[in-house]
Amino acid sequence: MDATSLNFKNNARGAIADDPLQKALAKLAVGFPLKRAQAAARLPEFEGLRDQARDIKNHVLENLDLYLEAYEEKVIASGGHVHWCATAADARETILKICQDAGAKTVTKSKSMISEEIAVNGFLEDNGIEPIETDLGEYIIQLRKEPPSHIIAPAIHLSKEQVAETFRNAHIDLAANRPLEEPRALLEEARGKLREKFLRADVGLTGANMLIAETGTNVLVTNEGNADLTNNLPRVHVVIASIEKIVPTLEDATTILRVLARSATGQEISVYTTFCTGPRRPDDLDGPEEYHVVLLDNGRTDMIGSEFHEMLRCIRCGACLNHCPIYKSIGGHAYGWVYSGPMGAVLIPNLIGMEDAQHLPNASTLCGKCESVCPMRIPLPKMLRKWRERQYRAEIGSKQVRWALHAWAWLAKRPKVYRYVMSLGIAMMGQFGGAGRFKSVPFAGGWTSKRDLAAPTGDTFISQYHKGARGDQSGELIRRKIMR
């Protein structure tokens, strides 16, 4: 998709004015964080598991080449194929070729953020192959031609009324006056539509929550079971995954599974957790005849060893989105690309470029909530700062802000001049501050457009203090202190 991240401010303004979106975000703001907190509280070892999960991925990233090769060997040994793709374009071409070789007309898909990242749907369509999203949320946004607004709940921005309208517009073969008020009715309708497509598909394209080096297995986590129908029913199963999805062993995979669903939705474990290893074996009752893994780099190896290295631990649980006050104010589309929230603000500049994504690392108060809930303990605020450092060095951003910062820093480094200038400024502001606060102040429109500005209350503290002033103790002070 074309990124609109550069238009972030307008996107955000539009999102704040979007009532259905704001209602959806208000629900998300309460639901997911509460469920995560409850799930974490129910598991005494949860914090320890977060440490273990972090350590597993750190170890993988230190030895990524080794584990990737071990994984490839196992996939081949189980009868599968591995395709190494350096770029999104390589991955699209590879997937198309597999589909064409299979003579595919339709491809069913289970939810995959990597497939969004490489924009494979439009590419397949352009080449005469119909991709069909089978995750309910993805199915809805595919009908609406929208990108996901959340990495685990792609249609979270929509109300059920909007979904009903989307279905009425798309499913024109069904009775126009059918009742679609209840979520259950929407689910049944989508299920009916998708069931025939599952059976007809030639290729099933899934993502992977993890790739296990020990066994050459891909792990799929869903709540709808659609991934199982996607990987089992068609003749060919294609897995698209980025290289950092590797974990060494089955045991490591279970450790990460224990933090994944709890962090994402507050579930102990997702409804379906599927392990796929190679194509159907002679004695298997079902499964695909061909099994392909498309391994995508798309900038990941450049992140290794960089200040964004730790971002590669991300398991795409969405906890940082669910807890982010910025995400909860504007939703995912405002970020202007397929990822969003704090993980998106760190990752997107790596993928679409720092200039186009320049707002994302800045649109944060660095409040630290994301890091406090990240199951992989990714220091997201630190990395947002690293992007700001890079931008500063590259002179990206408002010239005025840069100039004002320089002037301020010049003063802050010269205490005597600083004291003189600030005392003058404070005295000037004080002349007009009798009401205690200002409704508007020249050059401070960013502040006073939304809130009053408290007026300074006299000379600076340090000046007053050094002239001998001390606190007023005429209030209700009790002159006694209790030693504990």
Binding site: K9, K450, A469, D472
Partner: protein, 265 residues
């Protein structure tokens, strides 16, 4: 109590307290002196450097940090009436000097003895000042204080000892108010949305005063409350603990002589 009978404390007032609300500085001095500290307020202090640091300007940040370190390293403790600026000195300063062993050591030494005011009173000095305040307050956990310095129980324990004060907790005390330094002026629409959520949470507590340990958050919250005409006052927690609540709350009209009441001794 601390080992030294009278610990020498350097007060880093913070630029916002210095410029916008001196009473917080006076309250800090009083609380520290009442607890037996010898307090100094070095004139050479300006700002901790966060505006530059959070804008990616590490070179200016390093210069400013060196000034703070040199000014404060002689004290037994550095005390800061702000979790944000306290966190900057104690958590971020050492990181700035990864490539400079000499300054890294000096930064770390200052970082190790730097405390946010309330945490210093409660955790280090182990004092609970006695004060009185007639009203229902709610407390906002500022992000840096909470998540960088683990300041959560200390202000509540200290406020619990204030006669006449009752604390009504919000549901979202740990959620950012939307200040974020330059964030609030660079992204005013998002900041407004966030501070409105904070205001709604504060209003729902029924409190007549909101307290916090950071003037940035407080000016943001007070400014929004006042813009919306909501008569809830905002104060730094130190003002309440020091009994300095005769002065107008943040952004409220000043006394007839156009200053807060501050007496010379």
């Amino acid at each position: 109590m601390v080992d030294s009978p009278s610990p020498r404390v350097g007060l880093f007032a913070t630029c916002l307290v210095d410029l916008m609300r001196p009473i917080v500085g006076f309250a800090a001095v009083k609380l520290l002196e009442d607890a037996g500290c010898t307090v100094s307020v070095p004139e050479a202090q300006t700002c901790c450097g966060q505006p530059a640091y959070n804008s990616g300007d590490n070179s200016d940040t390093i210069d400013i940090a060196k000034g703070v370190i040199a000014t404060f390293e002689a004290f037994d403790y550095v005390v800061v009436p702000s979790g944000s600026c306290g966190g900057m000195i104690s958590h971020h300063y050492p990181v700035l000097f990864e490539d400079d062993p000499e300054w890294k050591a000096r930064a770390q030494a200052v970082a190790d003895k730097t405390y946010e005011l309330l945490a210093f009173l409660y955790d280090v000095l182990k004092v609970t000042p006695a004060a009185a305040f007639d009203g229902t307050v709610t407390y906002h956990d500022s992000c840096s204080g909470l998540r960088e310095l683990n300041i959560k129980d200390q202000p509540r324990a200290l406020l619990g000892n204030v006669t006449g004060l009752s604390l009504s907790e919000g549901n979202e005390t740990e959620t950012c108010c939307g200040f974020g330094g330059l964030f609030c002026v660079k992204y005013p629409d998002i900041s407004e949305k966030m501070v409105d959520a904070k205001v709604a949470d504060i209003v729902a507590t029924g409190a007549d005063t909101v307290l916090a340990g950071d003037l940035g958050c407080l000016m943001n919250i007070a400014g929004r409350l006042q813009r919306r005409g909501i008569p809830i006052q905002a104060r730094h927690t130190a003002e309440v603990l020091a009994g300095m609540t005769a002065a107008p709350a943040i952004g409220e009209p000043m006394g007839p002589d156009n200053t807060h009441k501050v007496s010379k001794v």
